[in-house]
């Protein structure tokens, strides 16, 4: 204990010899010091927060027998250097294609709330309004949480909801890809495909844009 043990015993006056009244207390200061030292050490070294993770499924390569499925309401995002995003909706038509469609023009956007977020909210308006309706029901306790989650997934899988294809060139960073996936998740885009190879014609068009 943090206590100074006073020397006990007589005051010498009577001259009578008395047994020294010895304190049975132990000085605990060093122990307390050690306890707090250990405490500090463990507090500082222990890792509290386990890392967070995002699940990702990549598309399996197609074999010869399966035909690639048609994509309805597809939006293709091309990620490139300096955090730039280029996108186009629907199919890609190169200049002078056989079908005689006008050539695809790449639109530019960025990762700001006014850019990508706004764009996705507009493009995926159908799914967003449907999910908002469901959420309102869920808030009003007329729809159970599990049912809500299942129905929300169904909405994002609907053909009216958009499908996002993310393609990257050799300049894009990993952060861009993760931010993109994140934003799609926030905007209720259930069908997100990462890791599709960029077509040569797309790449050429992109190079022209970023030149």
């Amino acid at each position: 204990m943090a206590e100074i043990a006073e020397s006990g015993g007589g005051h010498g006056k009577g001259g009578k010899k008395r047994a020294k009244k010895q304190s049975t207390r132990v000085d605990m200061t060093p122990m307390v010091d050690l306890a707090f030292l250990l405490l500090t050490f463990f507090v500082l070294t222990s890792t509290f927060s386990k890392p967070k993770s995002m699940e990702l499924s990549l598309p399996a390569p197609l074999d010869e027998n399966t035909k690639p499925s048609d994509i309805k309401n597809g939006v293709t995002f091309l990620l490139t250097k300096d955090d730039k995003i280029f996108y186009y909706a629907g199919e890609f038509y190169p200049v002078g294609n056989e079908k005689g469609k006008p050539a695809t023009v790449l639109q530019e956007t960025n990762f700001s709330p006014e850019g990508l977020h706004k764009l996705l909210m507009e493009q995926n308006q159908w799914a967003n309004t449907e999910i908002d309706k469901l959420r309102a029901q869920n808030k009003a306790k007329t729809l159970a949480d599990t049912t809500f989650n299942r129905m929300a997934v169904d909405v994002t899988a609907n053909t009216l909801a958009i499908t996002a294809l993310i393609k990257t060139d050799d300049q894009a960073t990993y952060r861009n890809a993760i931010d993109m996936l994140d934003e799609l998740k926030i905007c209720n885009v259930g069908k997100r495909v990462l890791g599709v190879e960029m077509m040569a014609s797309e790449y050429a068009l992109l190079q022209e844009k970023i030149k």
């Binding site: 995002m54 990762f111 977020h117 909210m121 990993y174 998740k185 905007c187």
Partner: protein, 227 residues
């Protein structure tokens, strides 16, 4: 007579409860602490709104900002077993001391032929170890593929054994199946990570956990905080 005596003792506070508390906390932290193992490289993963925690049983591939791949397994036993199999496959010999050190290694980014030398080095020396170009993963010499393959098998063996043991004792089994995790630096070029993805997809593994740091705010669309 009648003299007021001044107390001979110094004022004292009873510290017993404080000591009790201190030791209680020490015990708590000692038992719950999971030590952060020294990592060969510091990576800054990008932030995301995903709040899933990473499962325990993982094969972890770390990709740093210059594209080096580091390999690690989240289980010490699986780690040493993997090393034994890899040593056989590549004909690289490890002594008992090196195997023991490997059991405590969180991840590494050297070729297998340099691994014995890497293990002999002290922790401080490992940071400056040359050549530390990451585990090779090109198509000619894809050591990463073998590391992943063997360690996944080893993790599965341990998983099945624990499951059987739990079933034998009639307990509920809470363990999770081994998974694959990728922790990449936000500044790393996507193509580096793509090479790692390709190693996995070539092995018909299509689902991973990408390690991200949690972004502030909720996941609600209105609380979007990205810049």
């Amino acid at each position: 007579m009648g003299k007021i005596k001044v107390a001979a003792h110094a004022p004292s506070i009873d510290m017993t409860p404080m000591v009790d508390l201190a030791f209680l906390l020490v015990t708590f932290f000692m038992l719950t602490a999971s030590f952060r193992m020294a990592e060969p490289v510091i990576v800054d993963p990008p932030s995301s709104v995903s709040d899933k925690t990473l499962p325990e049983n993982t094969v972890l591939i770390t990709v740093d900002n210059i594209g080096r791949a580091f390999f690690g397994v989240g289980n010490g036993e699986a780690r040493t077993n993997t090393l034994a199999k890899m040593s056989e496959k590549y004909g690289v010999k490890f002594n008992a001391d090196q195997i023991k050190k490997f059991g405590g290694l969180s991840s590494f980014g050297v070729e297998i032929k340099d691994l014995p030398r890497y293990l002999d080095a002290s922790e401080a020396e490992r940071l400056r170890f040359q050549p530390q170009k990451g585990v090779p993963l090109d198509s000619v010499n894809n050591q990463l593929r073998d590391w992943i393959n063997i360690s996944a098998t080893e993790l599965n063996v341990i998983y099945m054994r624990n499951k059987d043991k739990a079933a034998e004792l009639g307990q509920e089994f809470k363990g999770e199946k081994p998974r694959y995790a990728i922790k990449a630096d936000g500044k790393a070029k996507y193509i580096y990570v793509k090479d790692v993805f390709k190693t996995f997809t070539d092995m018909k593994i299509y689902t991973f956990n990408l390690i991200t740091s949690l972004e502030g705010g909720s996941s609600a669309p209105a609380a979007e905080t990205k810049h």
